[in-house]
Amino acid sequence: MGSAWARTFEQFPYLFDVLVTGAGMTVIVTAGGFAVAVVLGLVFAVFRTARSPLLRSAATLYVEIFRAVPVLTQLFIIYFGLATIGIKLAPIPAAVIGFGINGGAYLTEVFRAGIEAIHRGQTEAAYSIGMTRPMTVWHIVLPQAIRVVLPPVANFAIGLLKDTSIASAVAAPELTYRAHMLVDQTYLSTQIYLMVAAIYLMMSLPLSRLVRRLERRMGQGHLR
């Protein structure tokens, strides 16, 4: 066992290099998935509060289905399943789409709660000076909702960063996948996974701290 640690120390630069490359891919998948999720979340949140029952049901369906199924299953369907009907996606796009669709369902609820958190008095005041419904949403509700929504969305991003480890199961060359490869090569399992944990921590802790400061500032800038 001692020799394993010695070997780790010897090969450390190489190991670290490979893992950091993987970490870069982790960030890319996170960013891509986040972007897709935000767009889908906004679209479906608007549907959820629309007046057309068709749009509302479509949004409800989307949210309920994609929040009840594990993201791993969704990734497998997109990567392995679609391939059998002719849609062959590379691991990274599959991961981005999978996390995006899954995350979008979650963010839909976050955005909807944000919109509903805006006190009814605000919309009434806007109507009373002659604003139409769309004008009220654009000028009054959305600017305020964005502030309410920022902390949960930021926390979602951090969660997504960690969830991308699952993309290793569809061979996306992110951090966890690279770790598997290294372990297969070197058999230094414990040591490598410790390094992996450390790298995830290095990515997530500063973000968490930022979000906590954001949350504290949101708590002060209140909304009537």
Binding site: R67, T73, I77, S168, Y193, V196
Partner: protein, 225 residues
Amino acid sequence: MSPAQLEVATHEWMPQLLVAALGTLEMTALAYVLGATVGLLIALAGHSPRRFLSAPARFYVEIVRGTPALTQLFLIYFGLASVGIAIPAFETAVLGLGLNYAAYMAEVYRAGIEAIHRGQREAAQSIGMTHGQTMRHIVLPQAVRVILPPMANYAISLLKDTSVASLISAPELMLRARDLSSEYYMPMQLYLIAGTIYFVMAFPLSRAVRRLERVLGKGHAAGAA
């Protein structure tokens, strides 16, 4: 899906998948209990005025919440193996997921305690209660209302997270689906069925949680105090 495939699906797959789903439920339940218990201990320790308790507790929460559950599962699985302890994958998954969720649940408990804490503690102290008595008789009973909705939601997310245990070959639904998929070369159908089974398990739960939230008047989110 052709009629022949449909037959295979119902006769070959479904029994296996349903049994595996039971494994999922079992794993969820065990990990949940572990997480809720350990989480409570961590929360109480984190809240303690004694630094030798609160510091490690807060450290634990930061580390575990800052790394993916999958990494933690791998660490436990391979780490234990390298020191000669061989725990079967199922138990490893229960342990790993339980300890992972303990950190998140500790935060929920903490939020619940803090939502009640300030003014009440002073009132309790002014009538002579110790820290322990204050927690037991005043804070915790009220904190339950704040804690229940997030804890219920965690049950649902834990159910989904057990799928990750398939990656250390723990016997649950996704592993069975994957094995069948490599046997029959029909990943689309198998994973769609697996997804449906998850949906059938999770959806009623989330409906129940939403009713719970409404009854309790939305315990969590900013402004609960």
